[in-house]
């Protein structure tokens, strides 16, 4: 899993260790930063990302004395491309990785889809978490753009047919090849606030080199958007009962990947003691735009609740 053509980025550090976990027959790639004997901290990336996007953020947590463990979701990064994808399967995979670390409660941080996955994991297994930082993955009333096939109810005939047409073609689909620069710019269209040097850094980690160029590793059968029966307000209704200390982090600059969660809208649903920290000058990828600030915020919070 070592990149064959490394691109450097200030402050970025590849994981100290990597391994695979067998999640009911699906190979899930797991990464760790920091001393193996340190207290574990669990970290989950967002949809269409991979654990390597934590290469600046995770080392900051590790330097503070944590064993930071993250993983690539099924179909993402170096994890296996399985035949099927679902919300329940993602939560189950996350639990399999967690089981490989410790059965004792540990602090957790999730971004976007990873925040929502860990929310559900913690609601199902409150005894596995000691505290939770949710970075722009708090439930809202809006649909979530990086959660394919999950939180959509808008049924438009053309959209359904388009999804089925994609399924019909997906056996033969592959990602478009390109240079490091081309892949970085392509990703930049969905992540417009992230710098080109950072996006270039991600390419040799999240993409694989073929004779005709680099291709993102993510399963080409995965597709942005989608539909399904889930309604986001079901998750929102459960938030007041969230079982462990919680801090939400949001960037107030709206962008395409963003979940559009505004602190004022979420506050009435927060459980006692929970709070939302808003960054006025950041977008959806708050922990990438402001790694030091978000890491310090999380570290202080975990310390304050004895996590």
């Amino acid at each position: 899993m070592i990149a064959e053509e490394a691109v450097s980025y200030p402050g970025a550090r590849r994981p100290d260790r990597s391994r695979f976990v067998d999640a009911s027959g699906v190979r899930i790639a797991v990464y760790e930063w920091g001393d193996e004997s340190a207290r574990p901290l669990f970290l989950a990336h967002g949809g269409f990302d991979f654990a390597g996007t934590f290469d600046v953020f995770a080392p900051l947590l590790a330097e503070a004395g944590w064993r930071v463990v993250s993983f690539d979701h099924r179909g993402h990064g170096d994890s296996e491309h399985p035949a099927l994808y679902s919300w329940d399967a993602d939560v189950r995979d996350a639990r399999a990785v967690l089981d490989s670390v410790s059965h004792k409660p540990m602090p957790m941080i999730g971004h976007s889809k990873g925040g929502a996955l860990l929310t559900q994991l913690i609601e199902a297994h409150p005894h596995r978490a000691s505290a939770f930082v949710n970075i722009d993955g708090l439930p809202g009333k809006r649909r979530h753009p990086d959660v394919a096939d999950h939180e959509r109810t808008r049924l438009v005939a053309a959209e359904l047919a388009h999804w089925l047409d994609h399924r019909r073609r997906s056996a033969k689909k592959e990602r478009k090849p390109g240079t490091i620069d081309e892949l970085a710019r392509r990703r930049g269209r969905m992540n417009p606030r992230l710098s080109l040097p950072w996006l270039r850094y991600l390419v040799p980690i999240g993409a694989r080199r073929f004779p005709d160029g680099w291709r993102w590793k993510i399963d080409p059968s995965l597709r942005f958007g989608g539909f399904g029966p889930w309604r986001p307000d079901w998750s929102l209704e459960r938030l007041p009962g969230f079982p462990v200390p919680l801090v939400g982090v949001v960037g107030l600059v709206q962008e395409e990947m963003g979940w559009g969660t505004h602190p004022d809208k979420i506050r009435p649903y927060l459980p006692p003691g929970a709070r939302v920290e808003a960054f006025a000058d950041a977008g959806h990828f708050v922990h990438i735009e402001k790694p030091r600030e978000v890491a310090d915020l999380a570290l202080r919070f975990f310390e304050s609740v004895g996590a």
């Binding site: 999640a23 009911s24 027959g25 699906v26 099924r74 491309h81 399985p82 035949a83 099927l84 994808y85 679902s86 329940d88 399967a89 939560v91 189950r92 995979d93 639990r95 559900q120 994991l121 609601e123 199902a124 297994h125 096939d149 109810t153 049924l155 005939a157 359904l160 047919a161 999804w163 089925l164 399924r167 019909r168 997906s170 056996a171 059968s221 539909f227 399904g228 029966p229 889930w230 309604r231 079901w234 459960r238």
Partner: protein, 218 residues
Amino acid sequence: MLPPTLLTHAKVRLALHKLRSGTGRALLLLHGLGERSPAEPPQVLNAWPGPIVALDFTGHGASSIPAGGGYTAEVLMGDADAALAHLGHATLVGRGLGAYVALLLAGARPEGVRGAVLCDGPGLAGGGARPGSPQIVAPDRAAVPPPDPFALAELARDVRPPEYATAFVRQAAVLSGLPRPITICALERAAWLRAVAEEPGVEESTIPEALALYASVR
């Protein structure tokens, strides 16, 4: 029984069984949760003039069993759509889970699906109208597939909101050109099916009556 035709849906190989030949549009049978395609056409379908074919869903019968689960009714709709792509047009008869999938496909492919007949069978209700308490679904590890124990565990609890189901009915009603794109022959009334029964373009009848109607439409 002839060897099935093998279809590809993403990374899954699906078995489509030809149960009987005939002239005209095919009748596509979609089995219930945990079932597989029947070896012979059920007698109640005898009056259908066209060929009768039956699909094994992912993780069932002679179709492939993927590792690690991840089943949704929507992906099974994709299975049924792979069969529809092979057949061109079809009238659907679904049992239980297959009835719900038939409804979804009737709404999503209103031109290809010439009538959907929803019958009783395993997995009709799914997980109900609203989600229960969050849980991490684990399959029966001692089970011997097929069917895939992940399919049994996951598709017995997928949420089927009535307003979601009726959105598919409305699309079928508006876009199929059929006066009655959906026929309910099931007696069990899951929440989604109760709501579907109230929609324009949906009527209750017997299977032979529904087949006679759909055999007559273009």
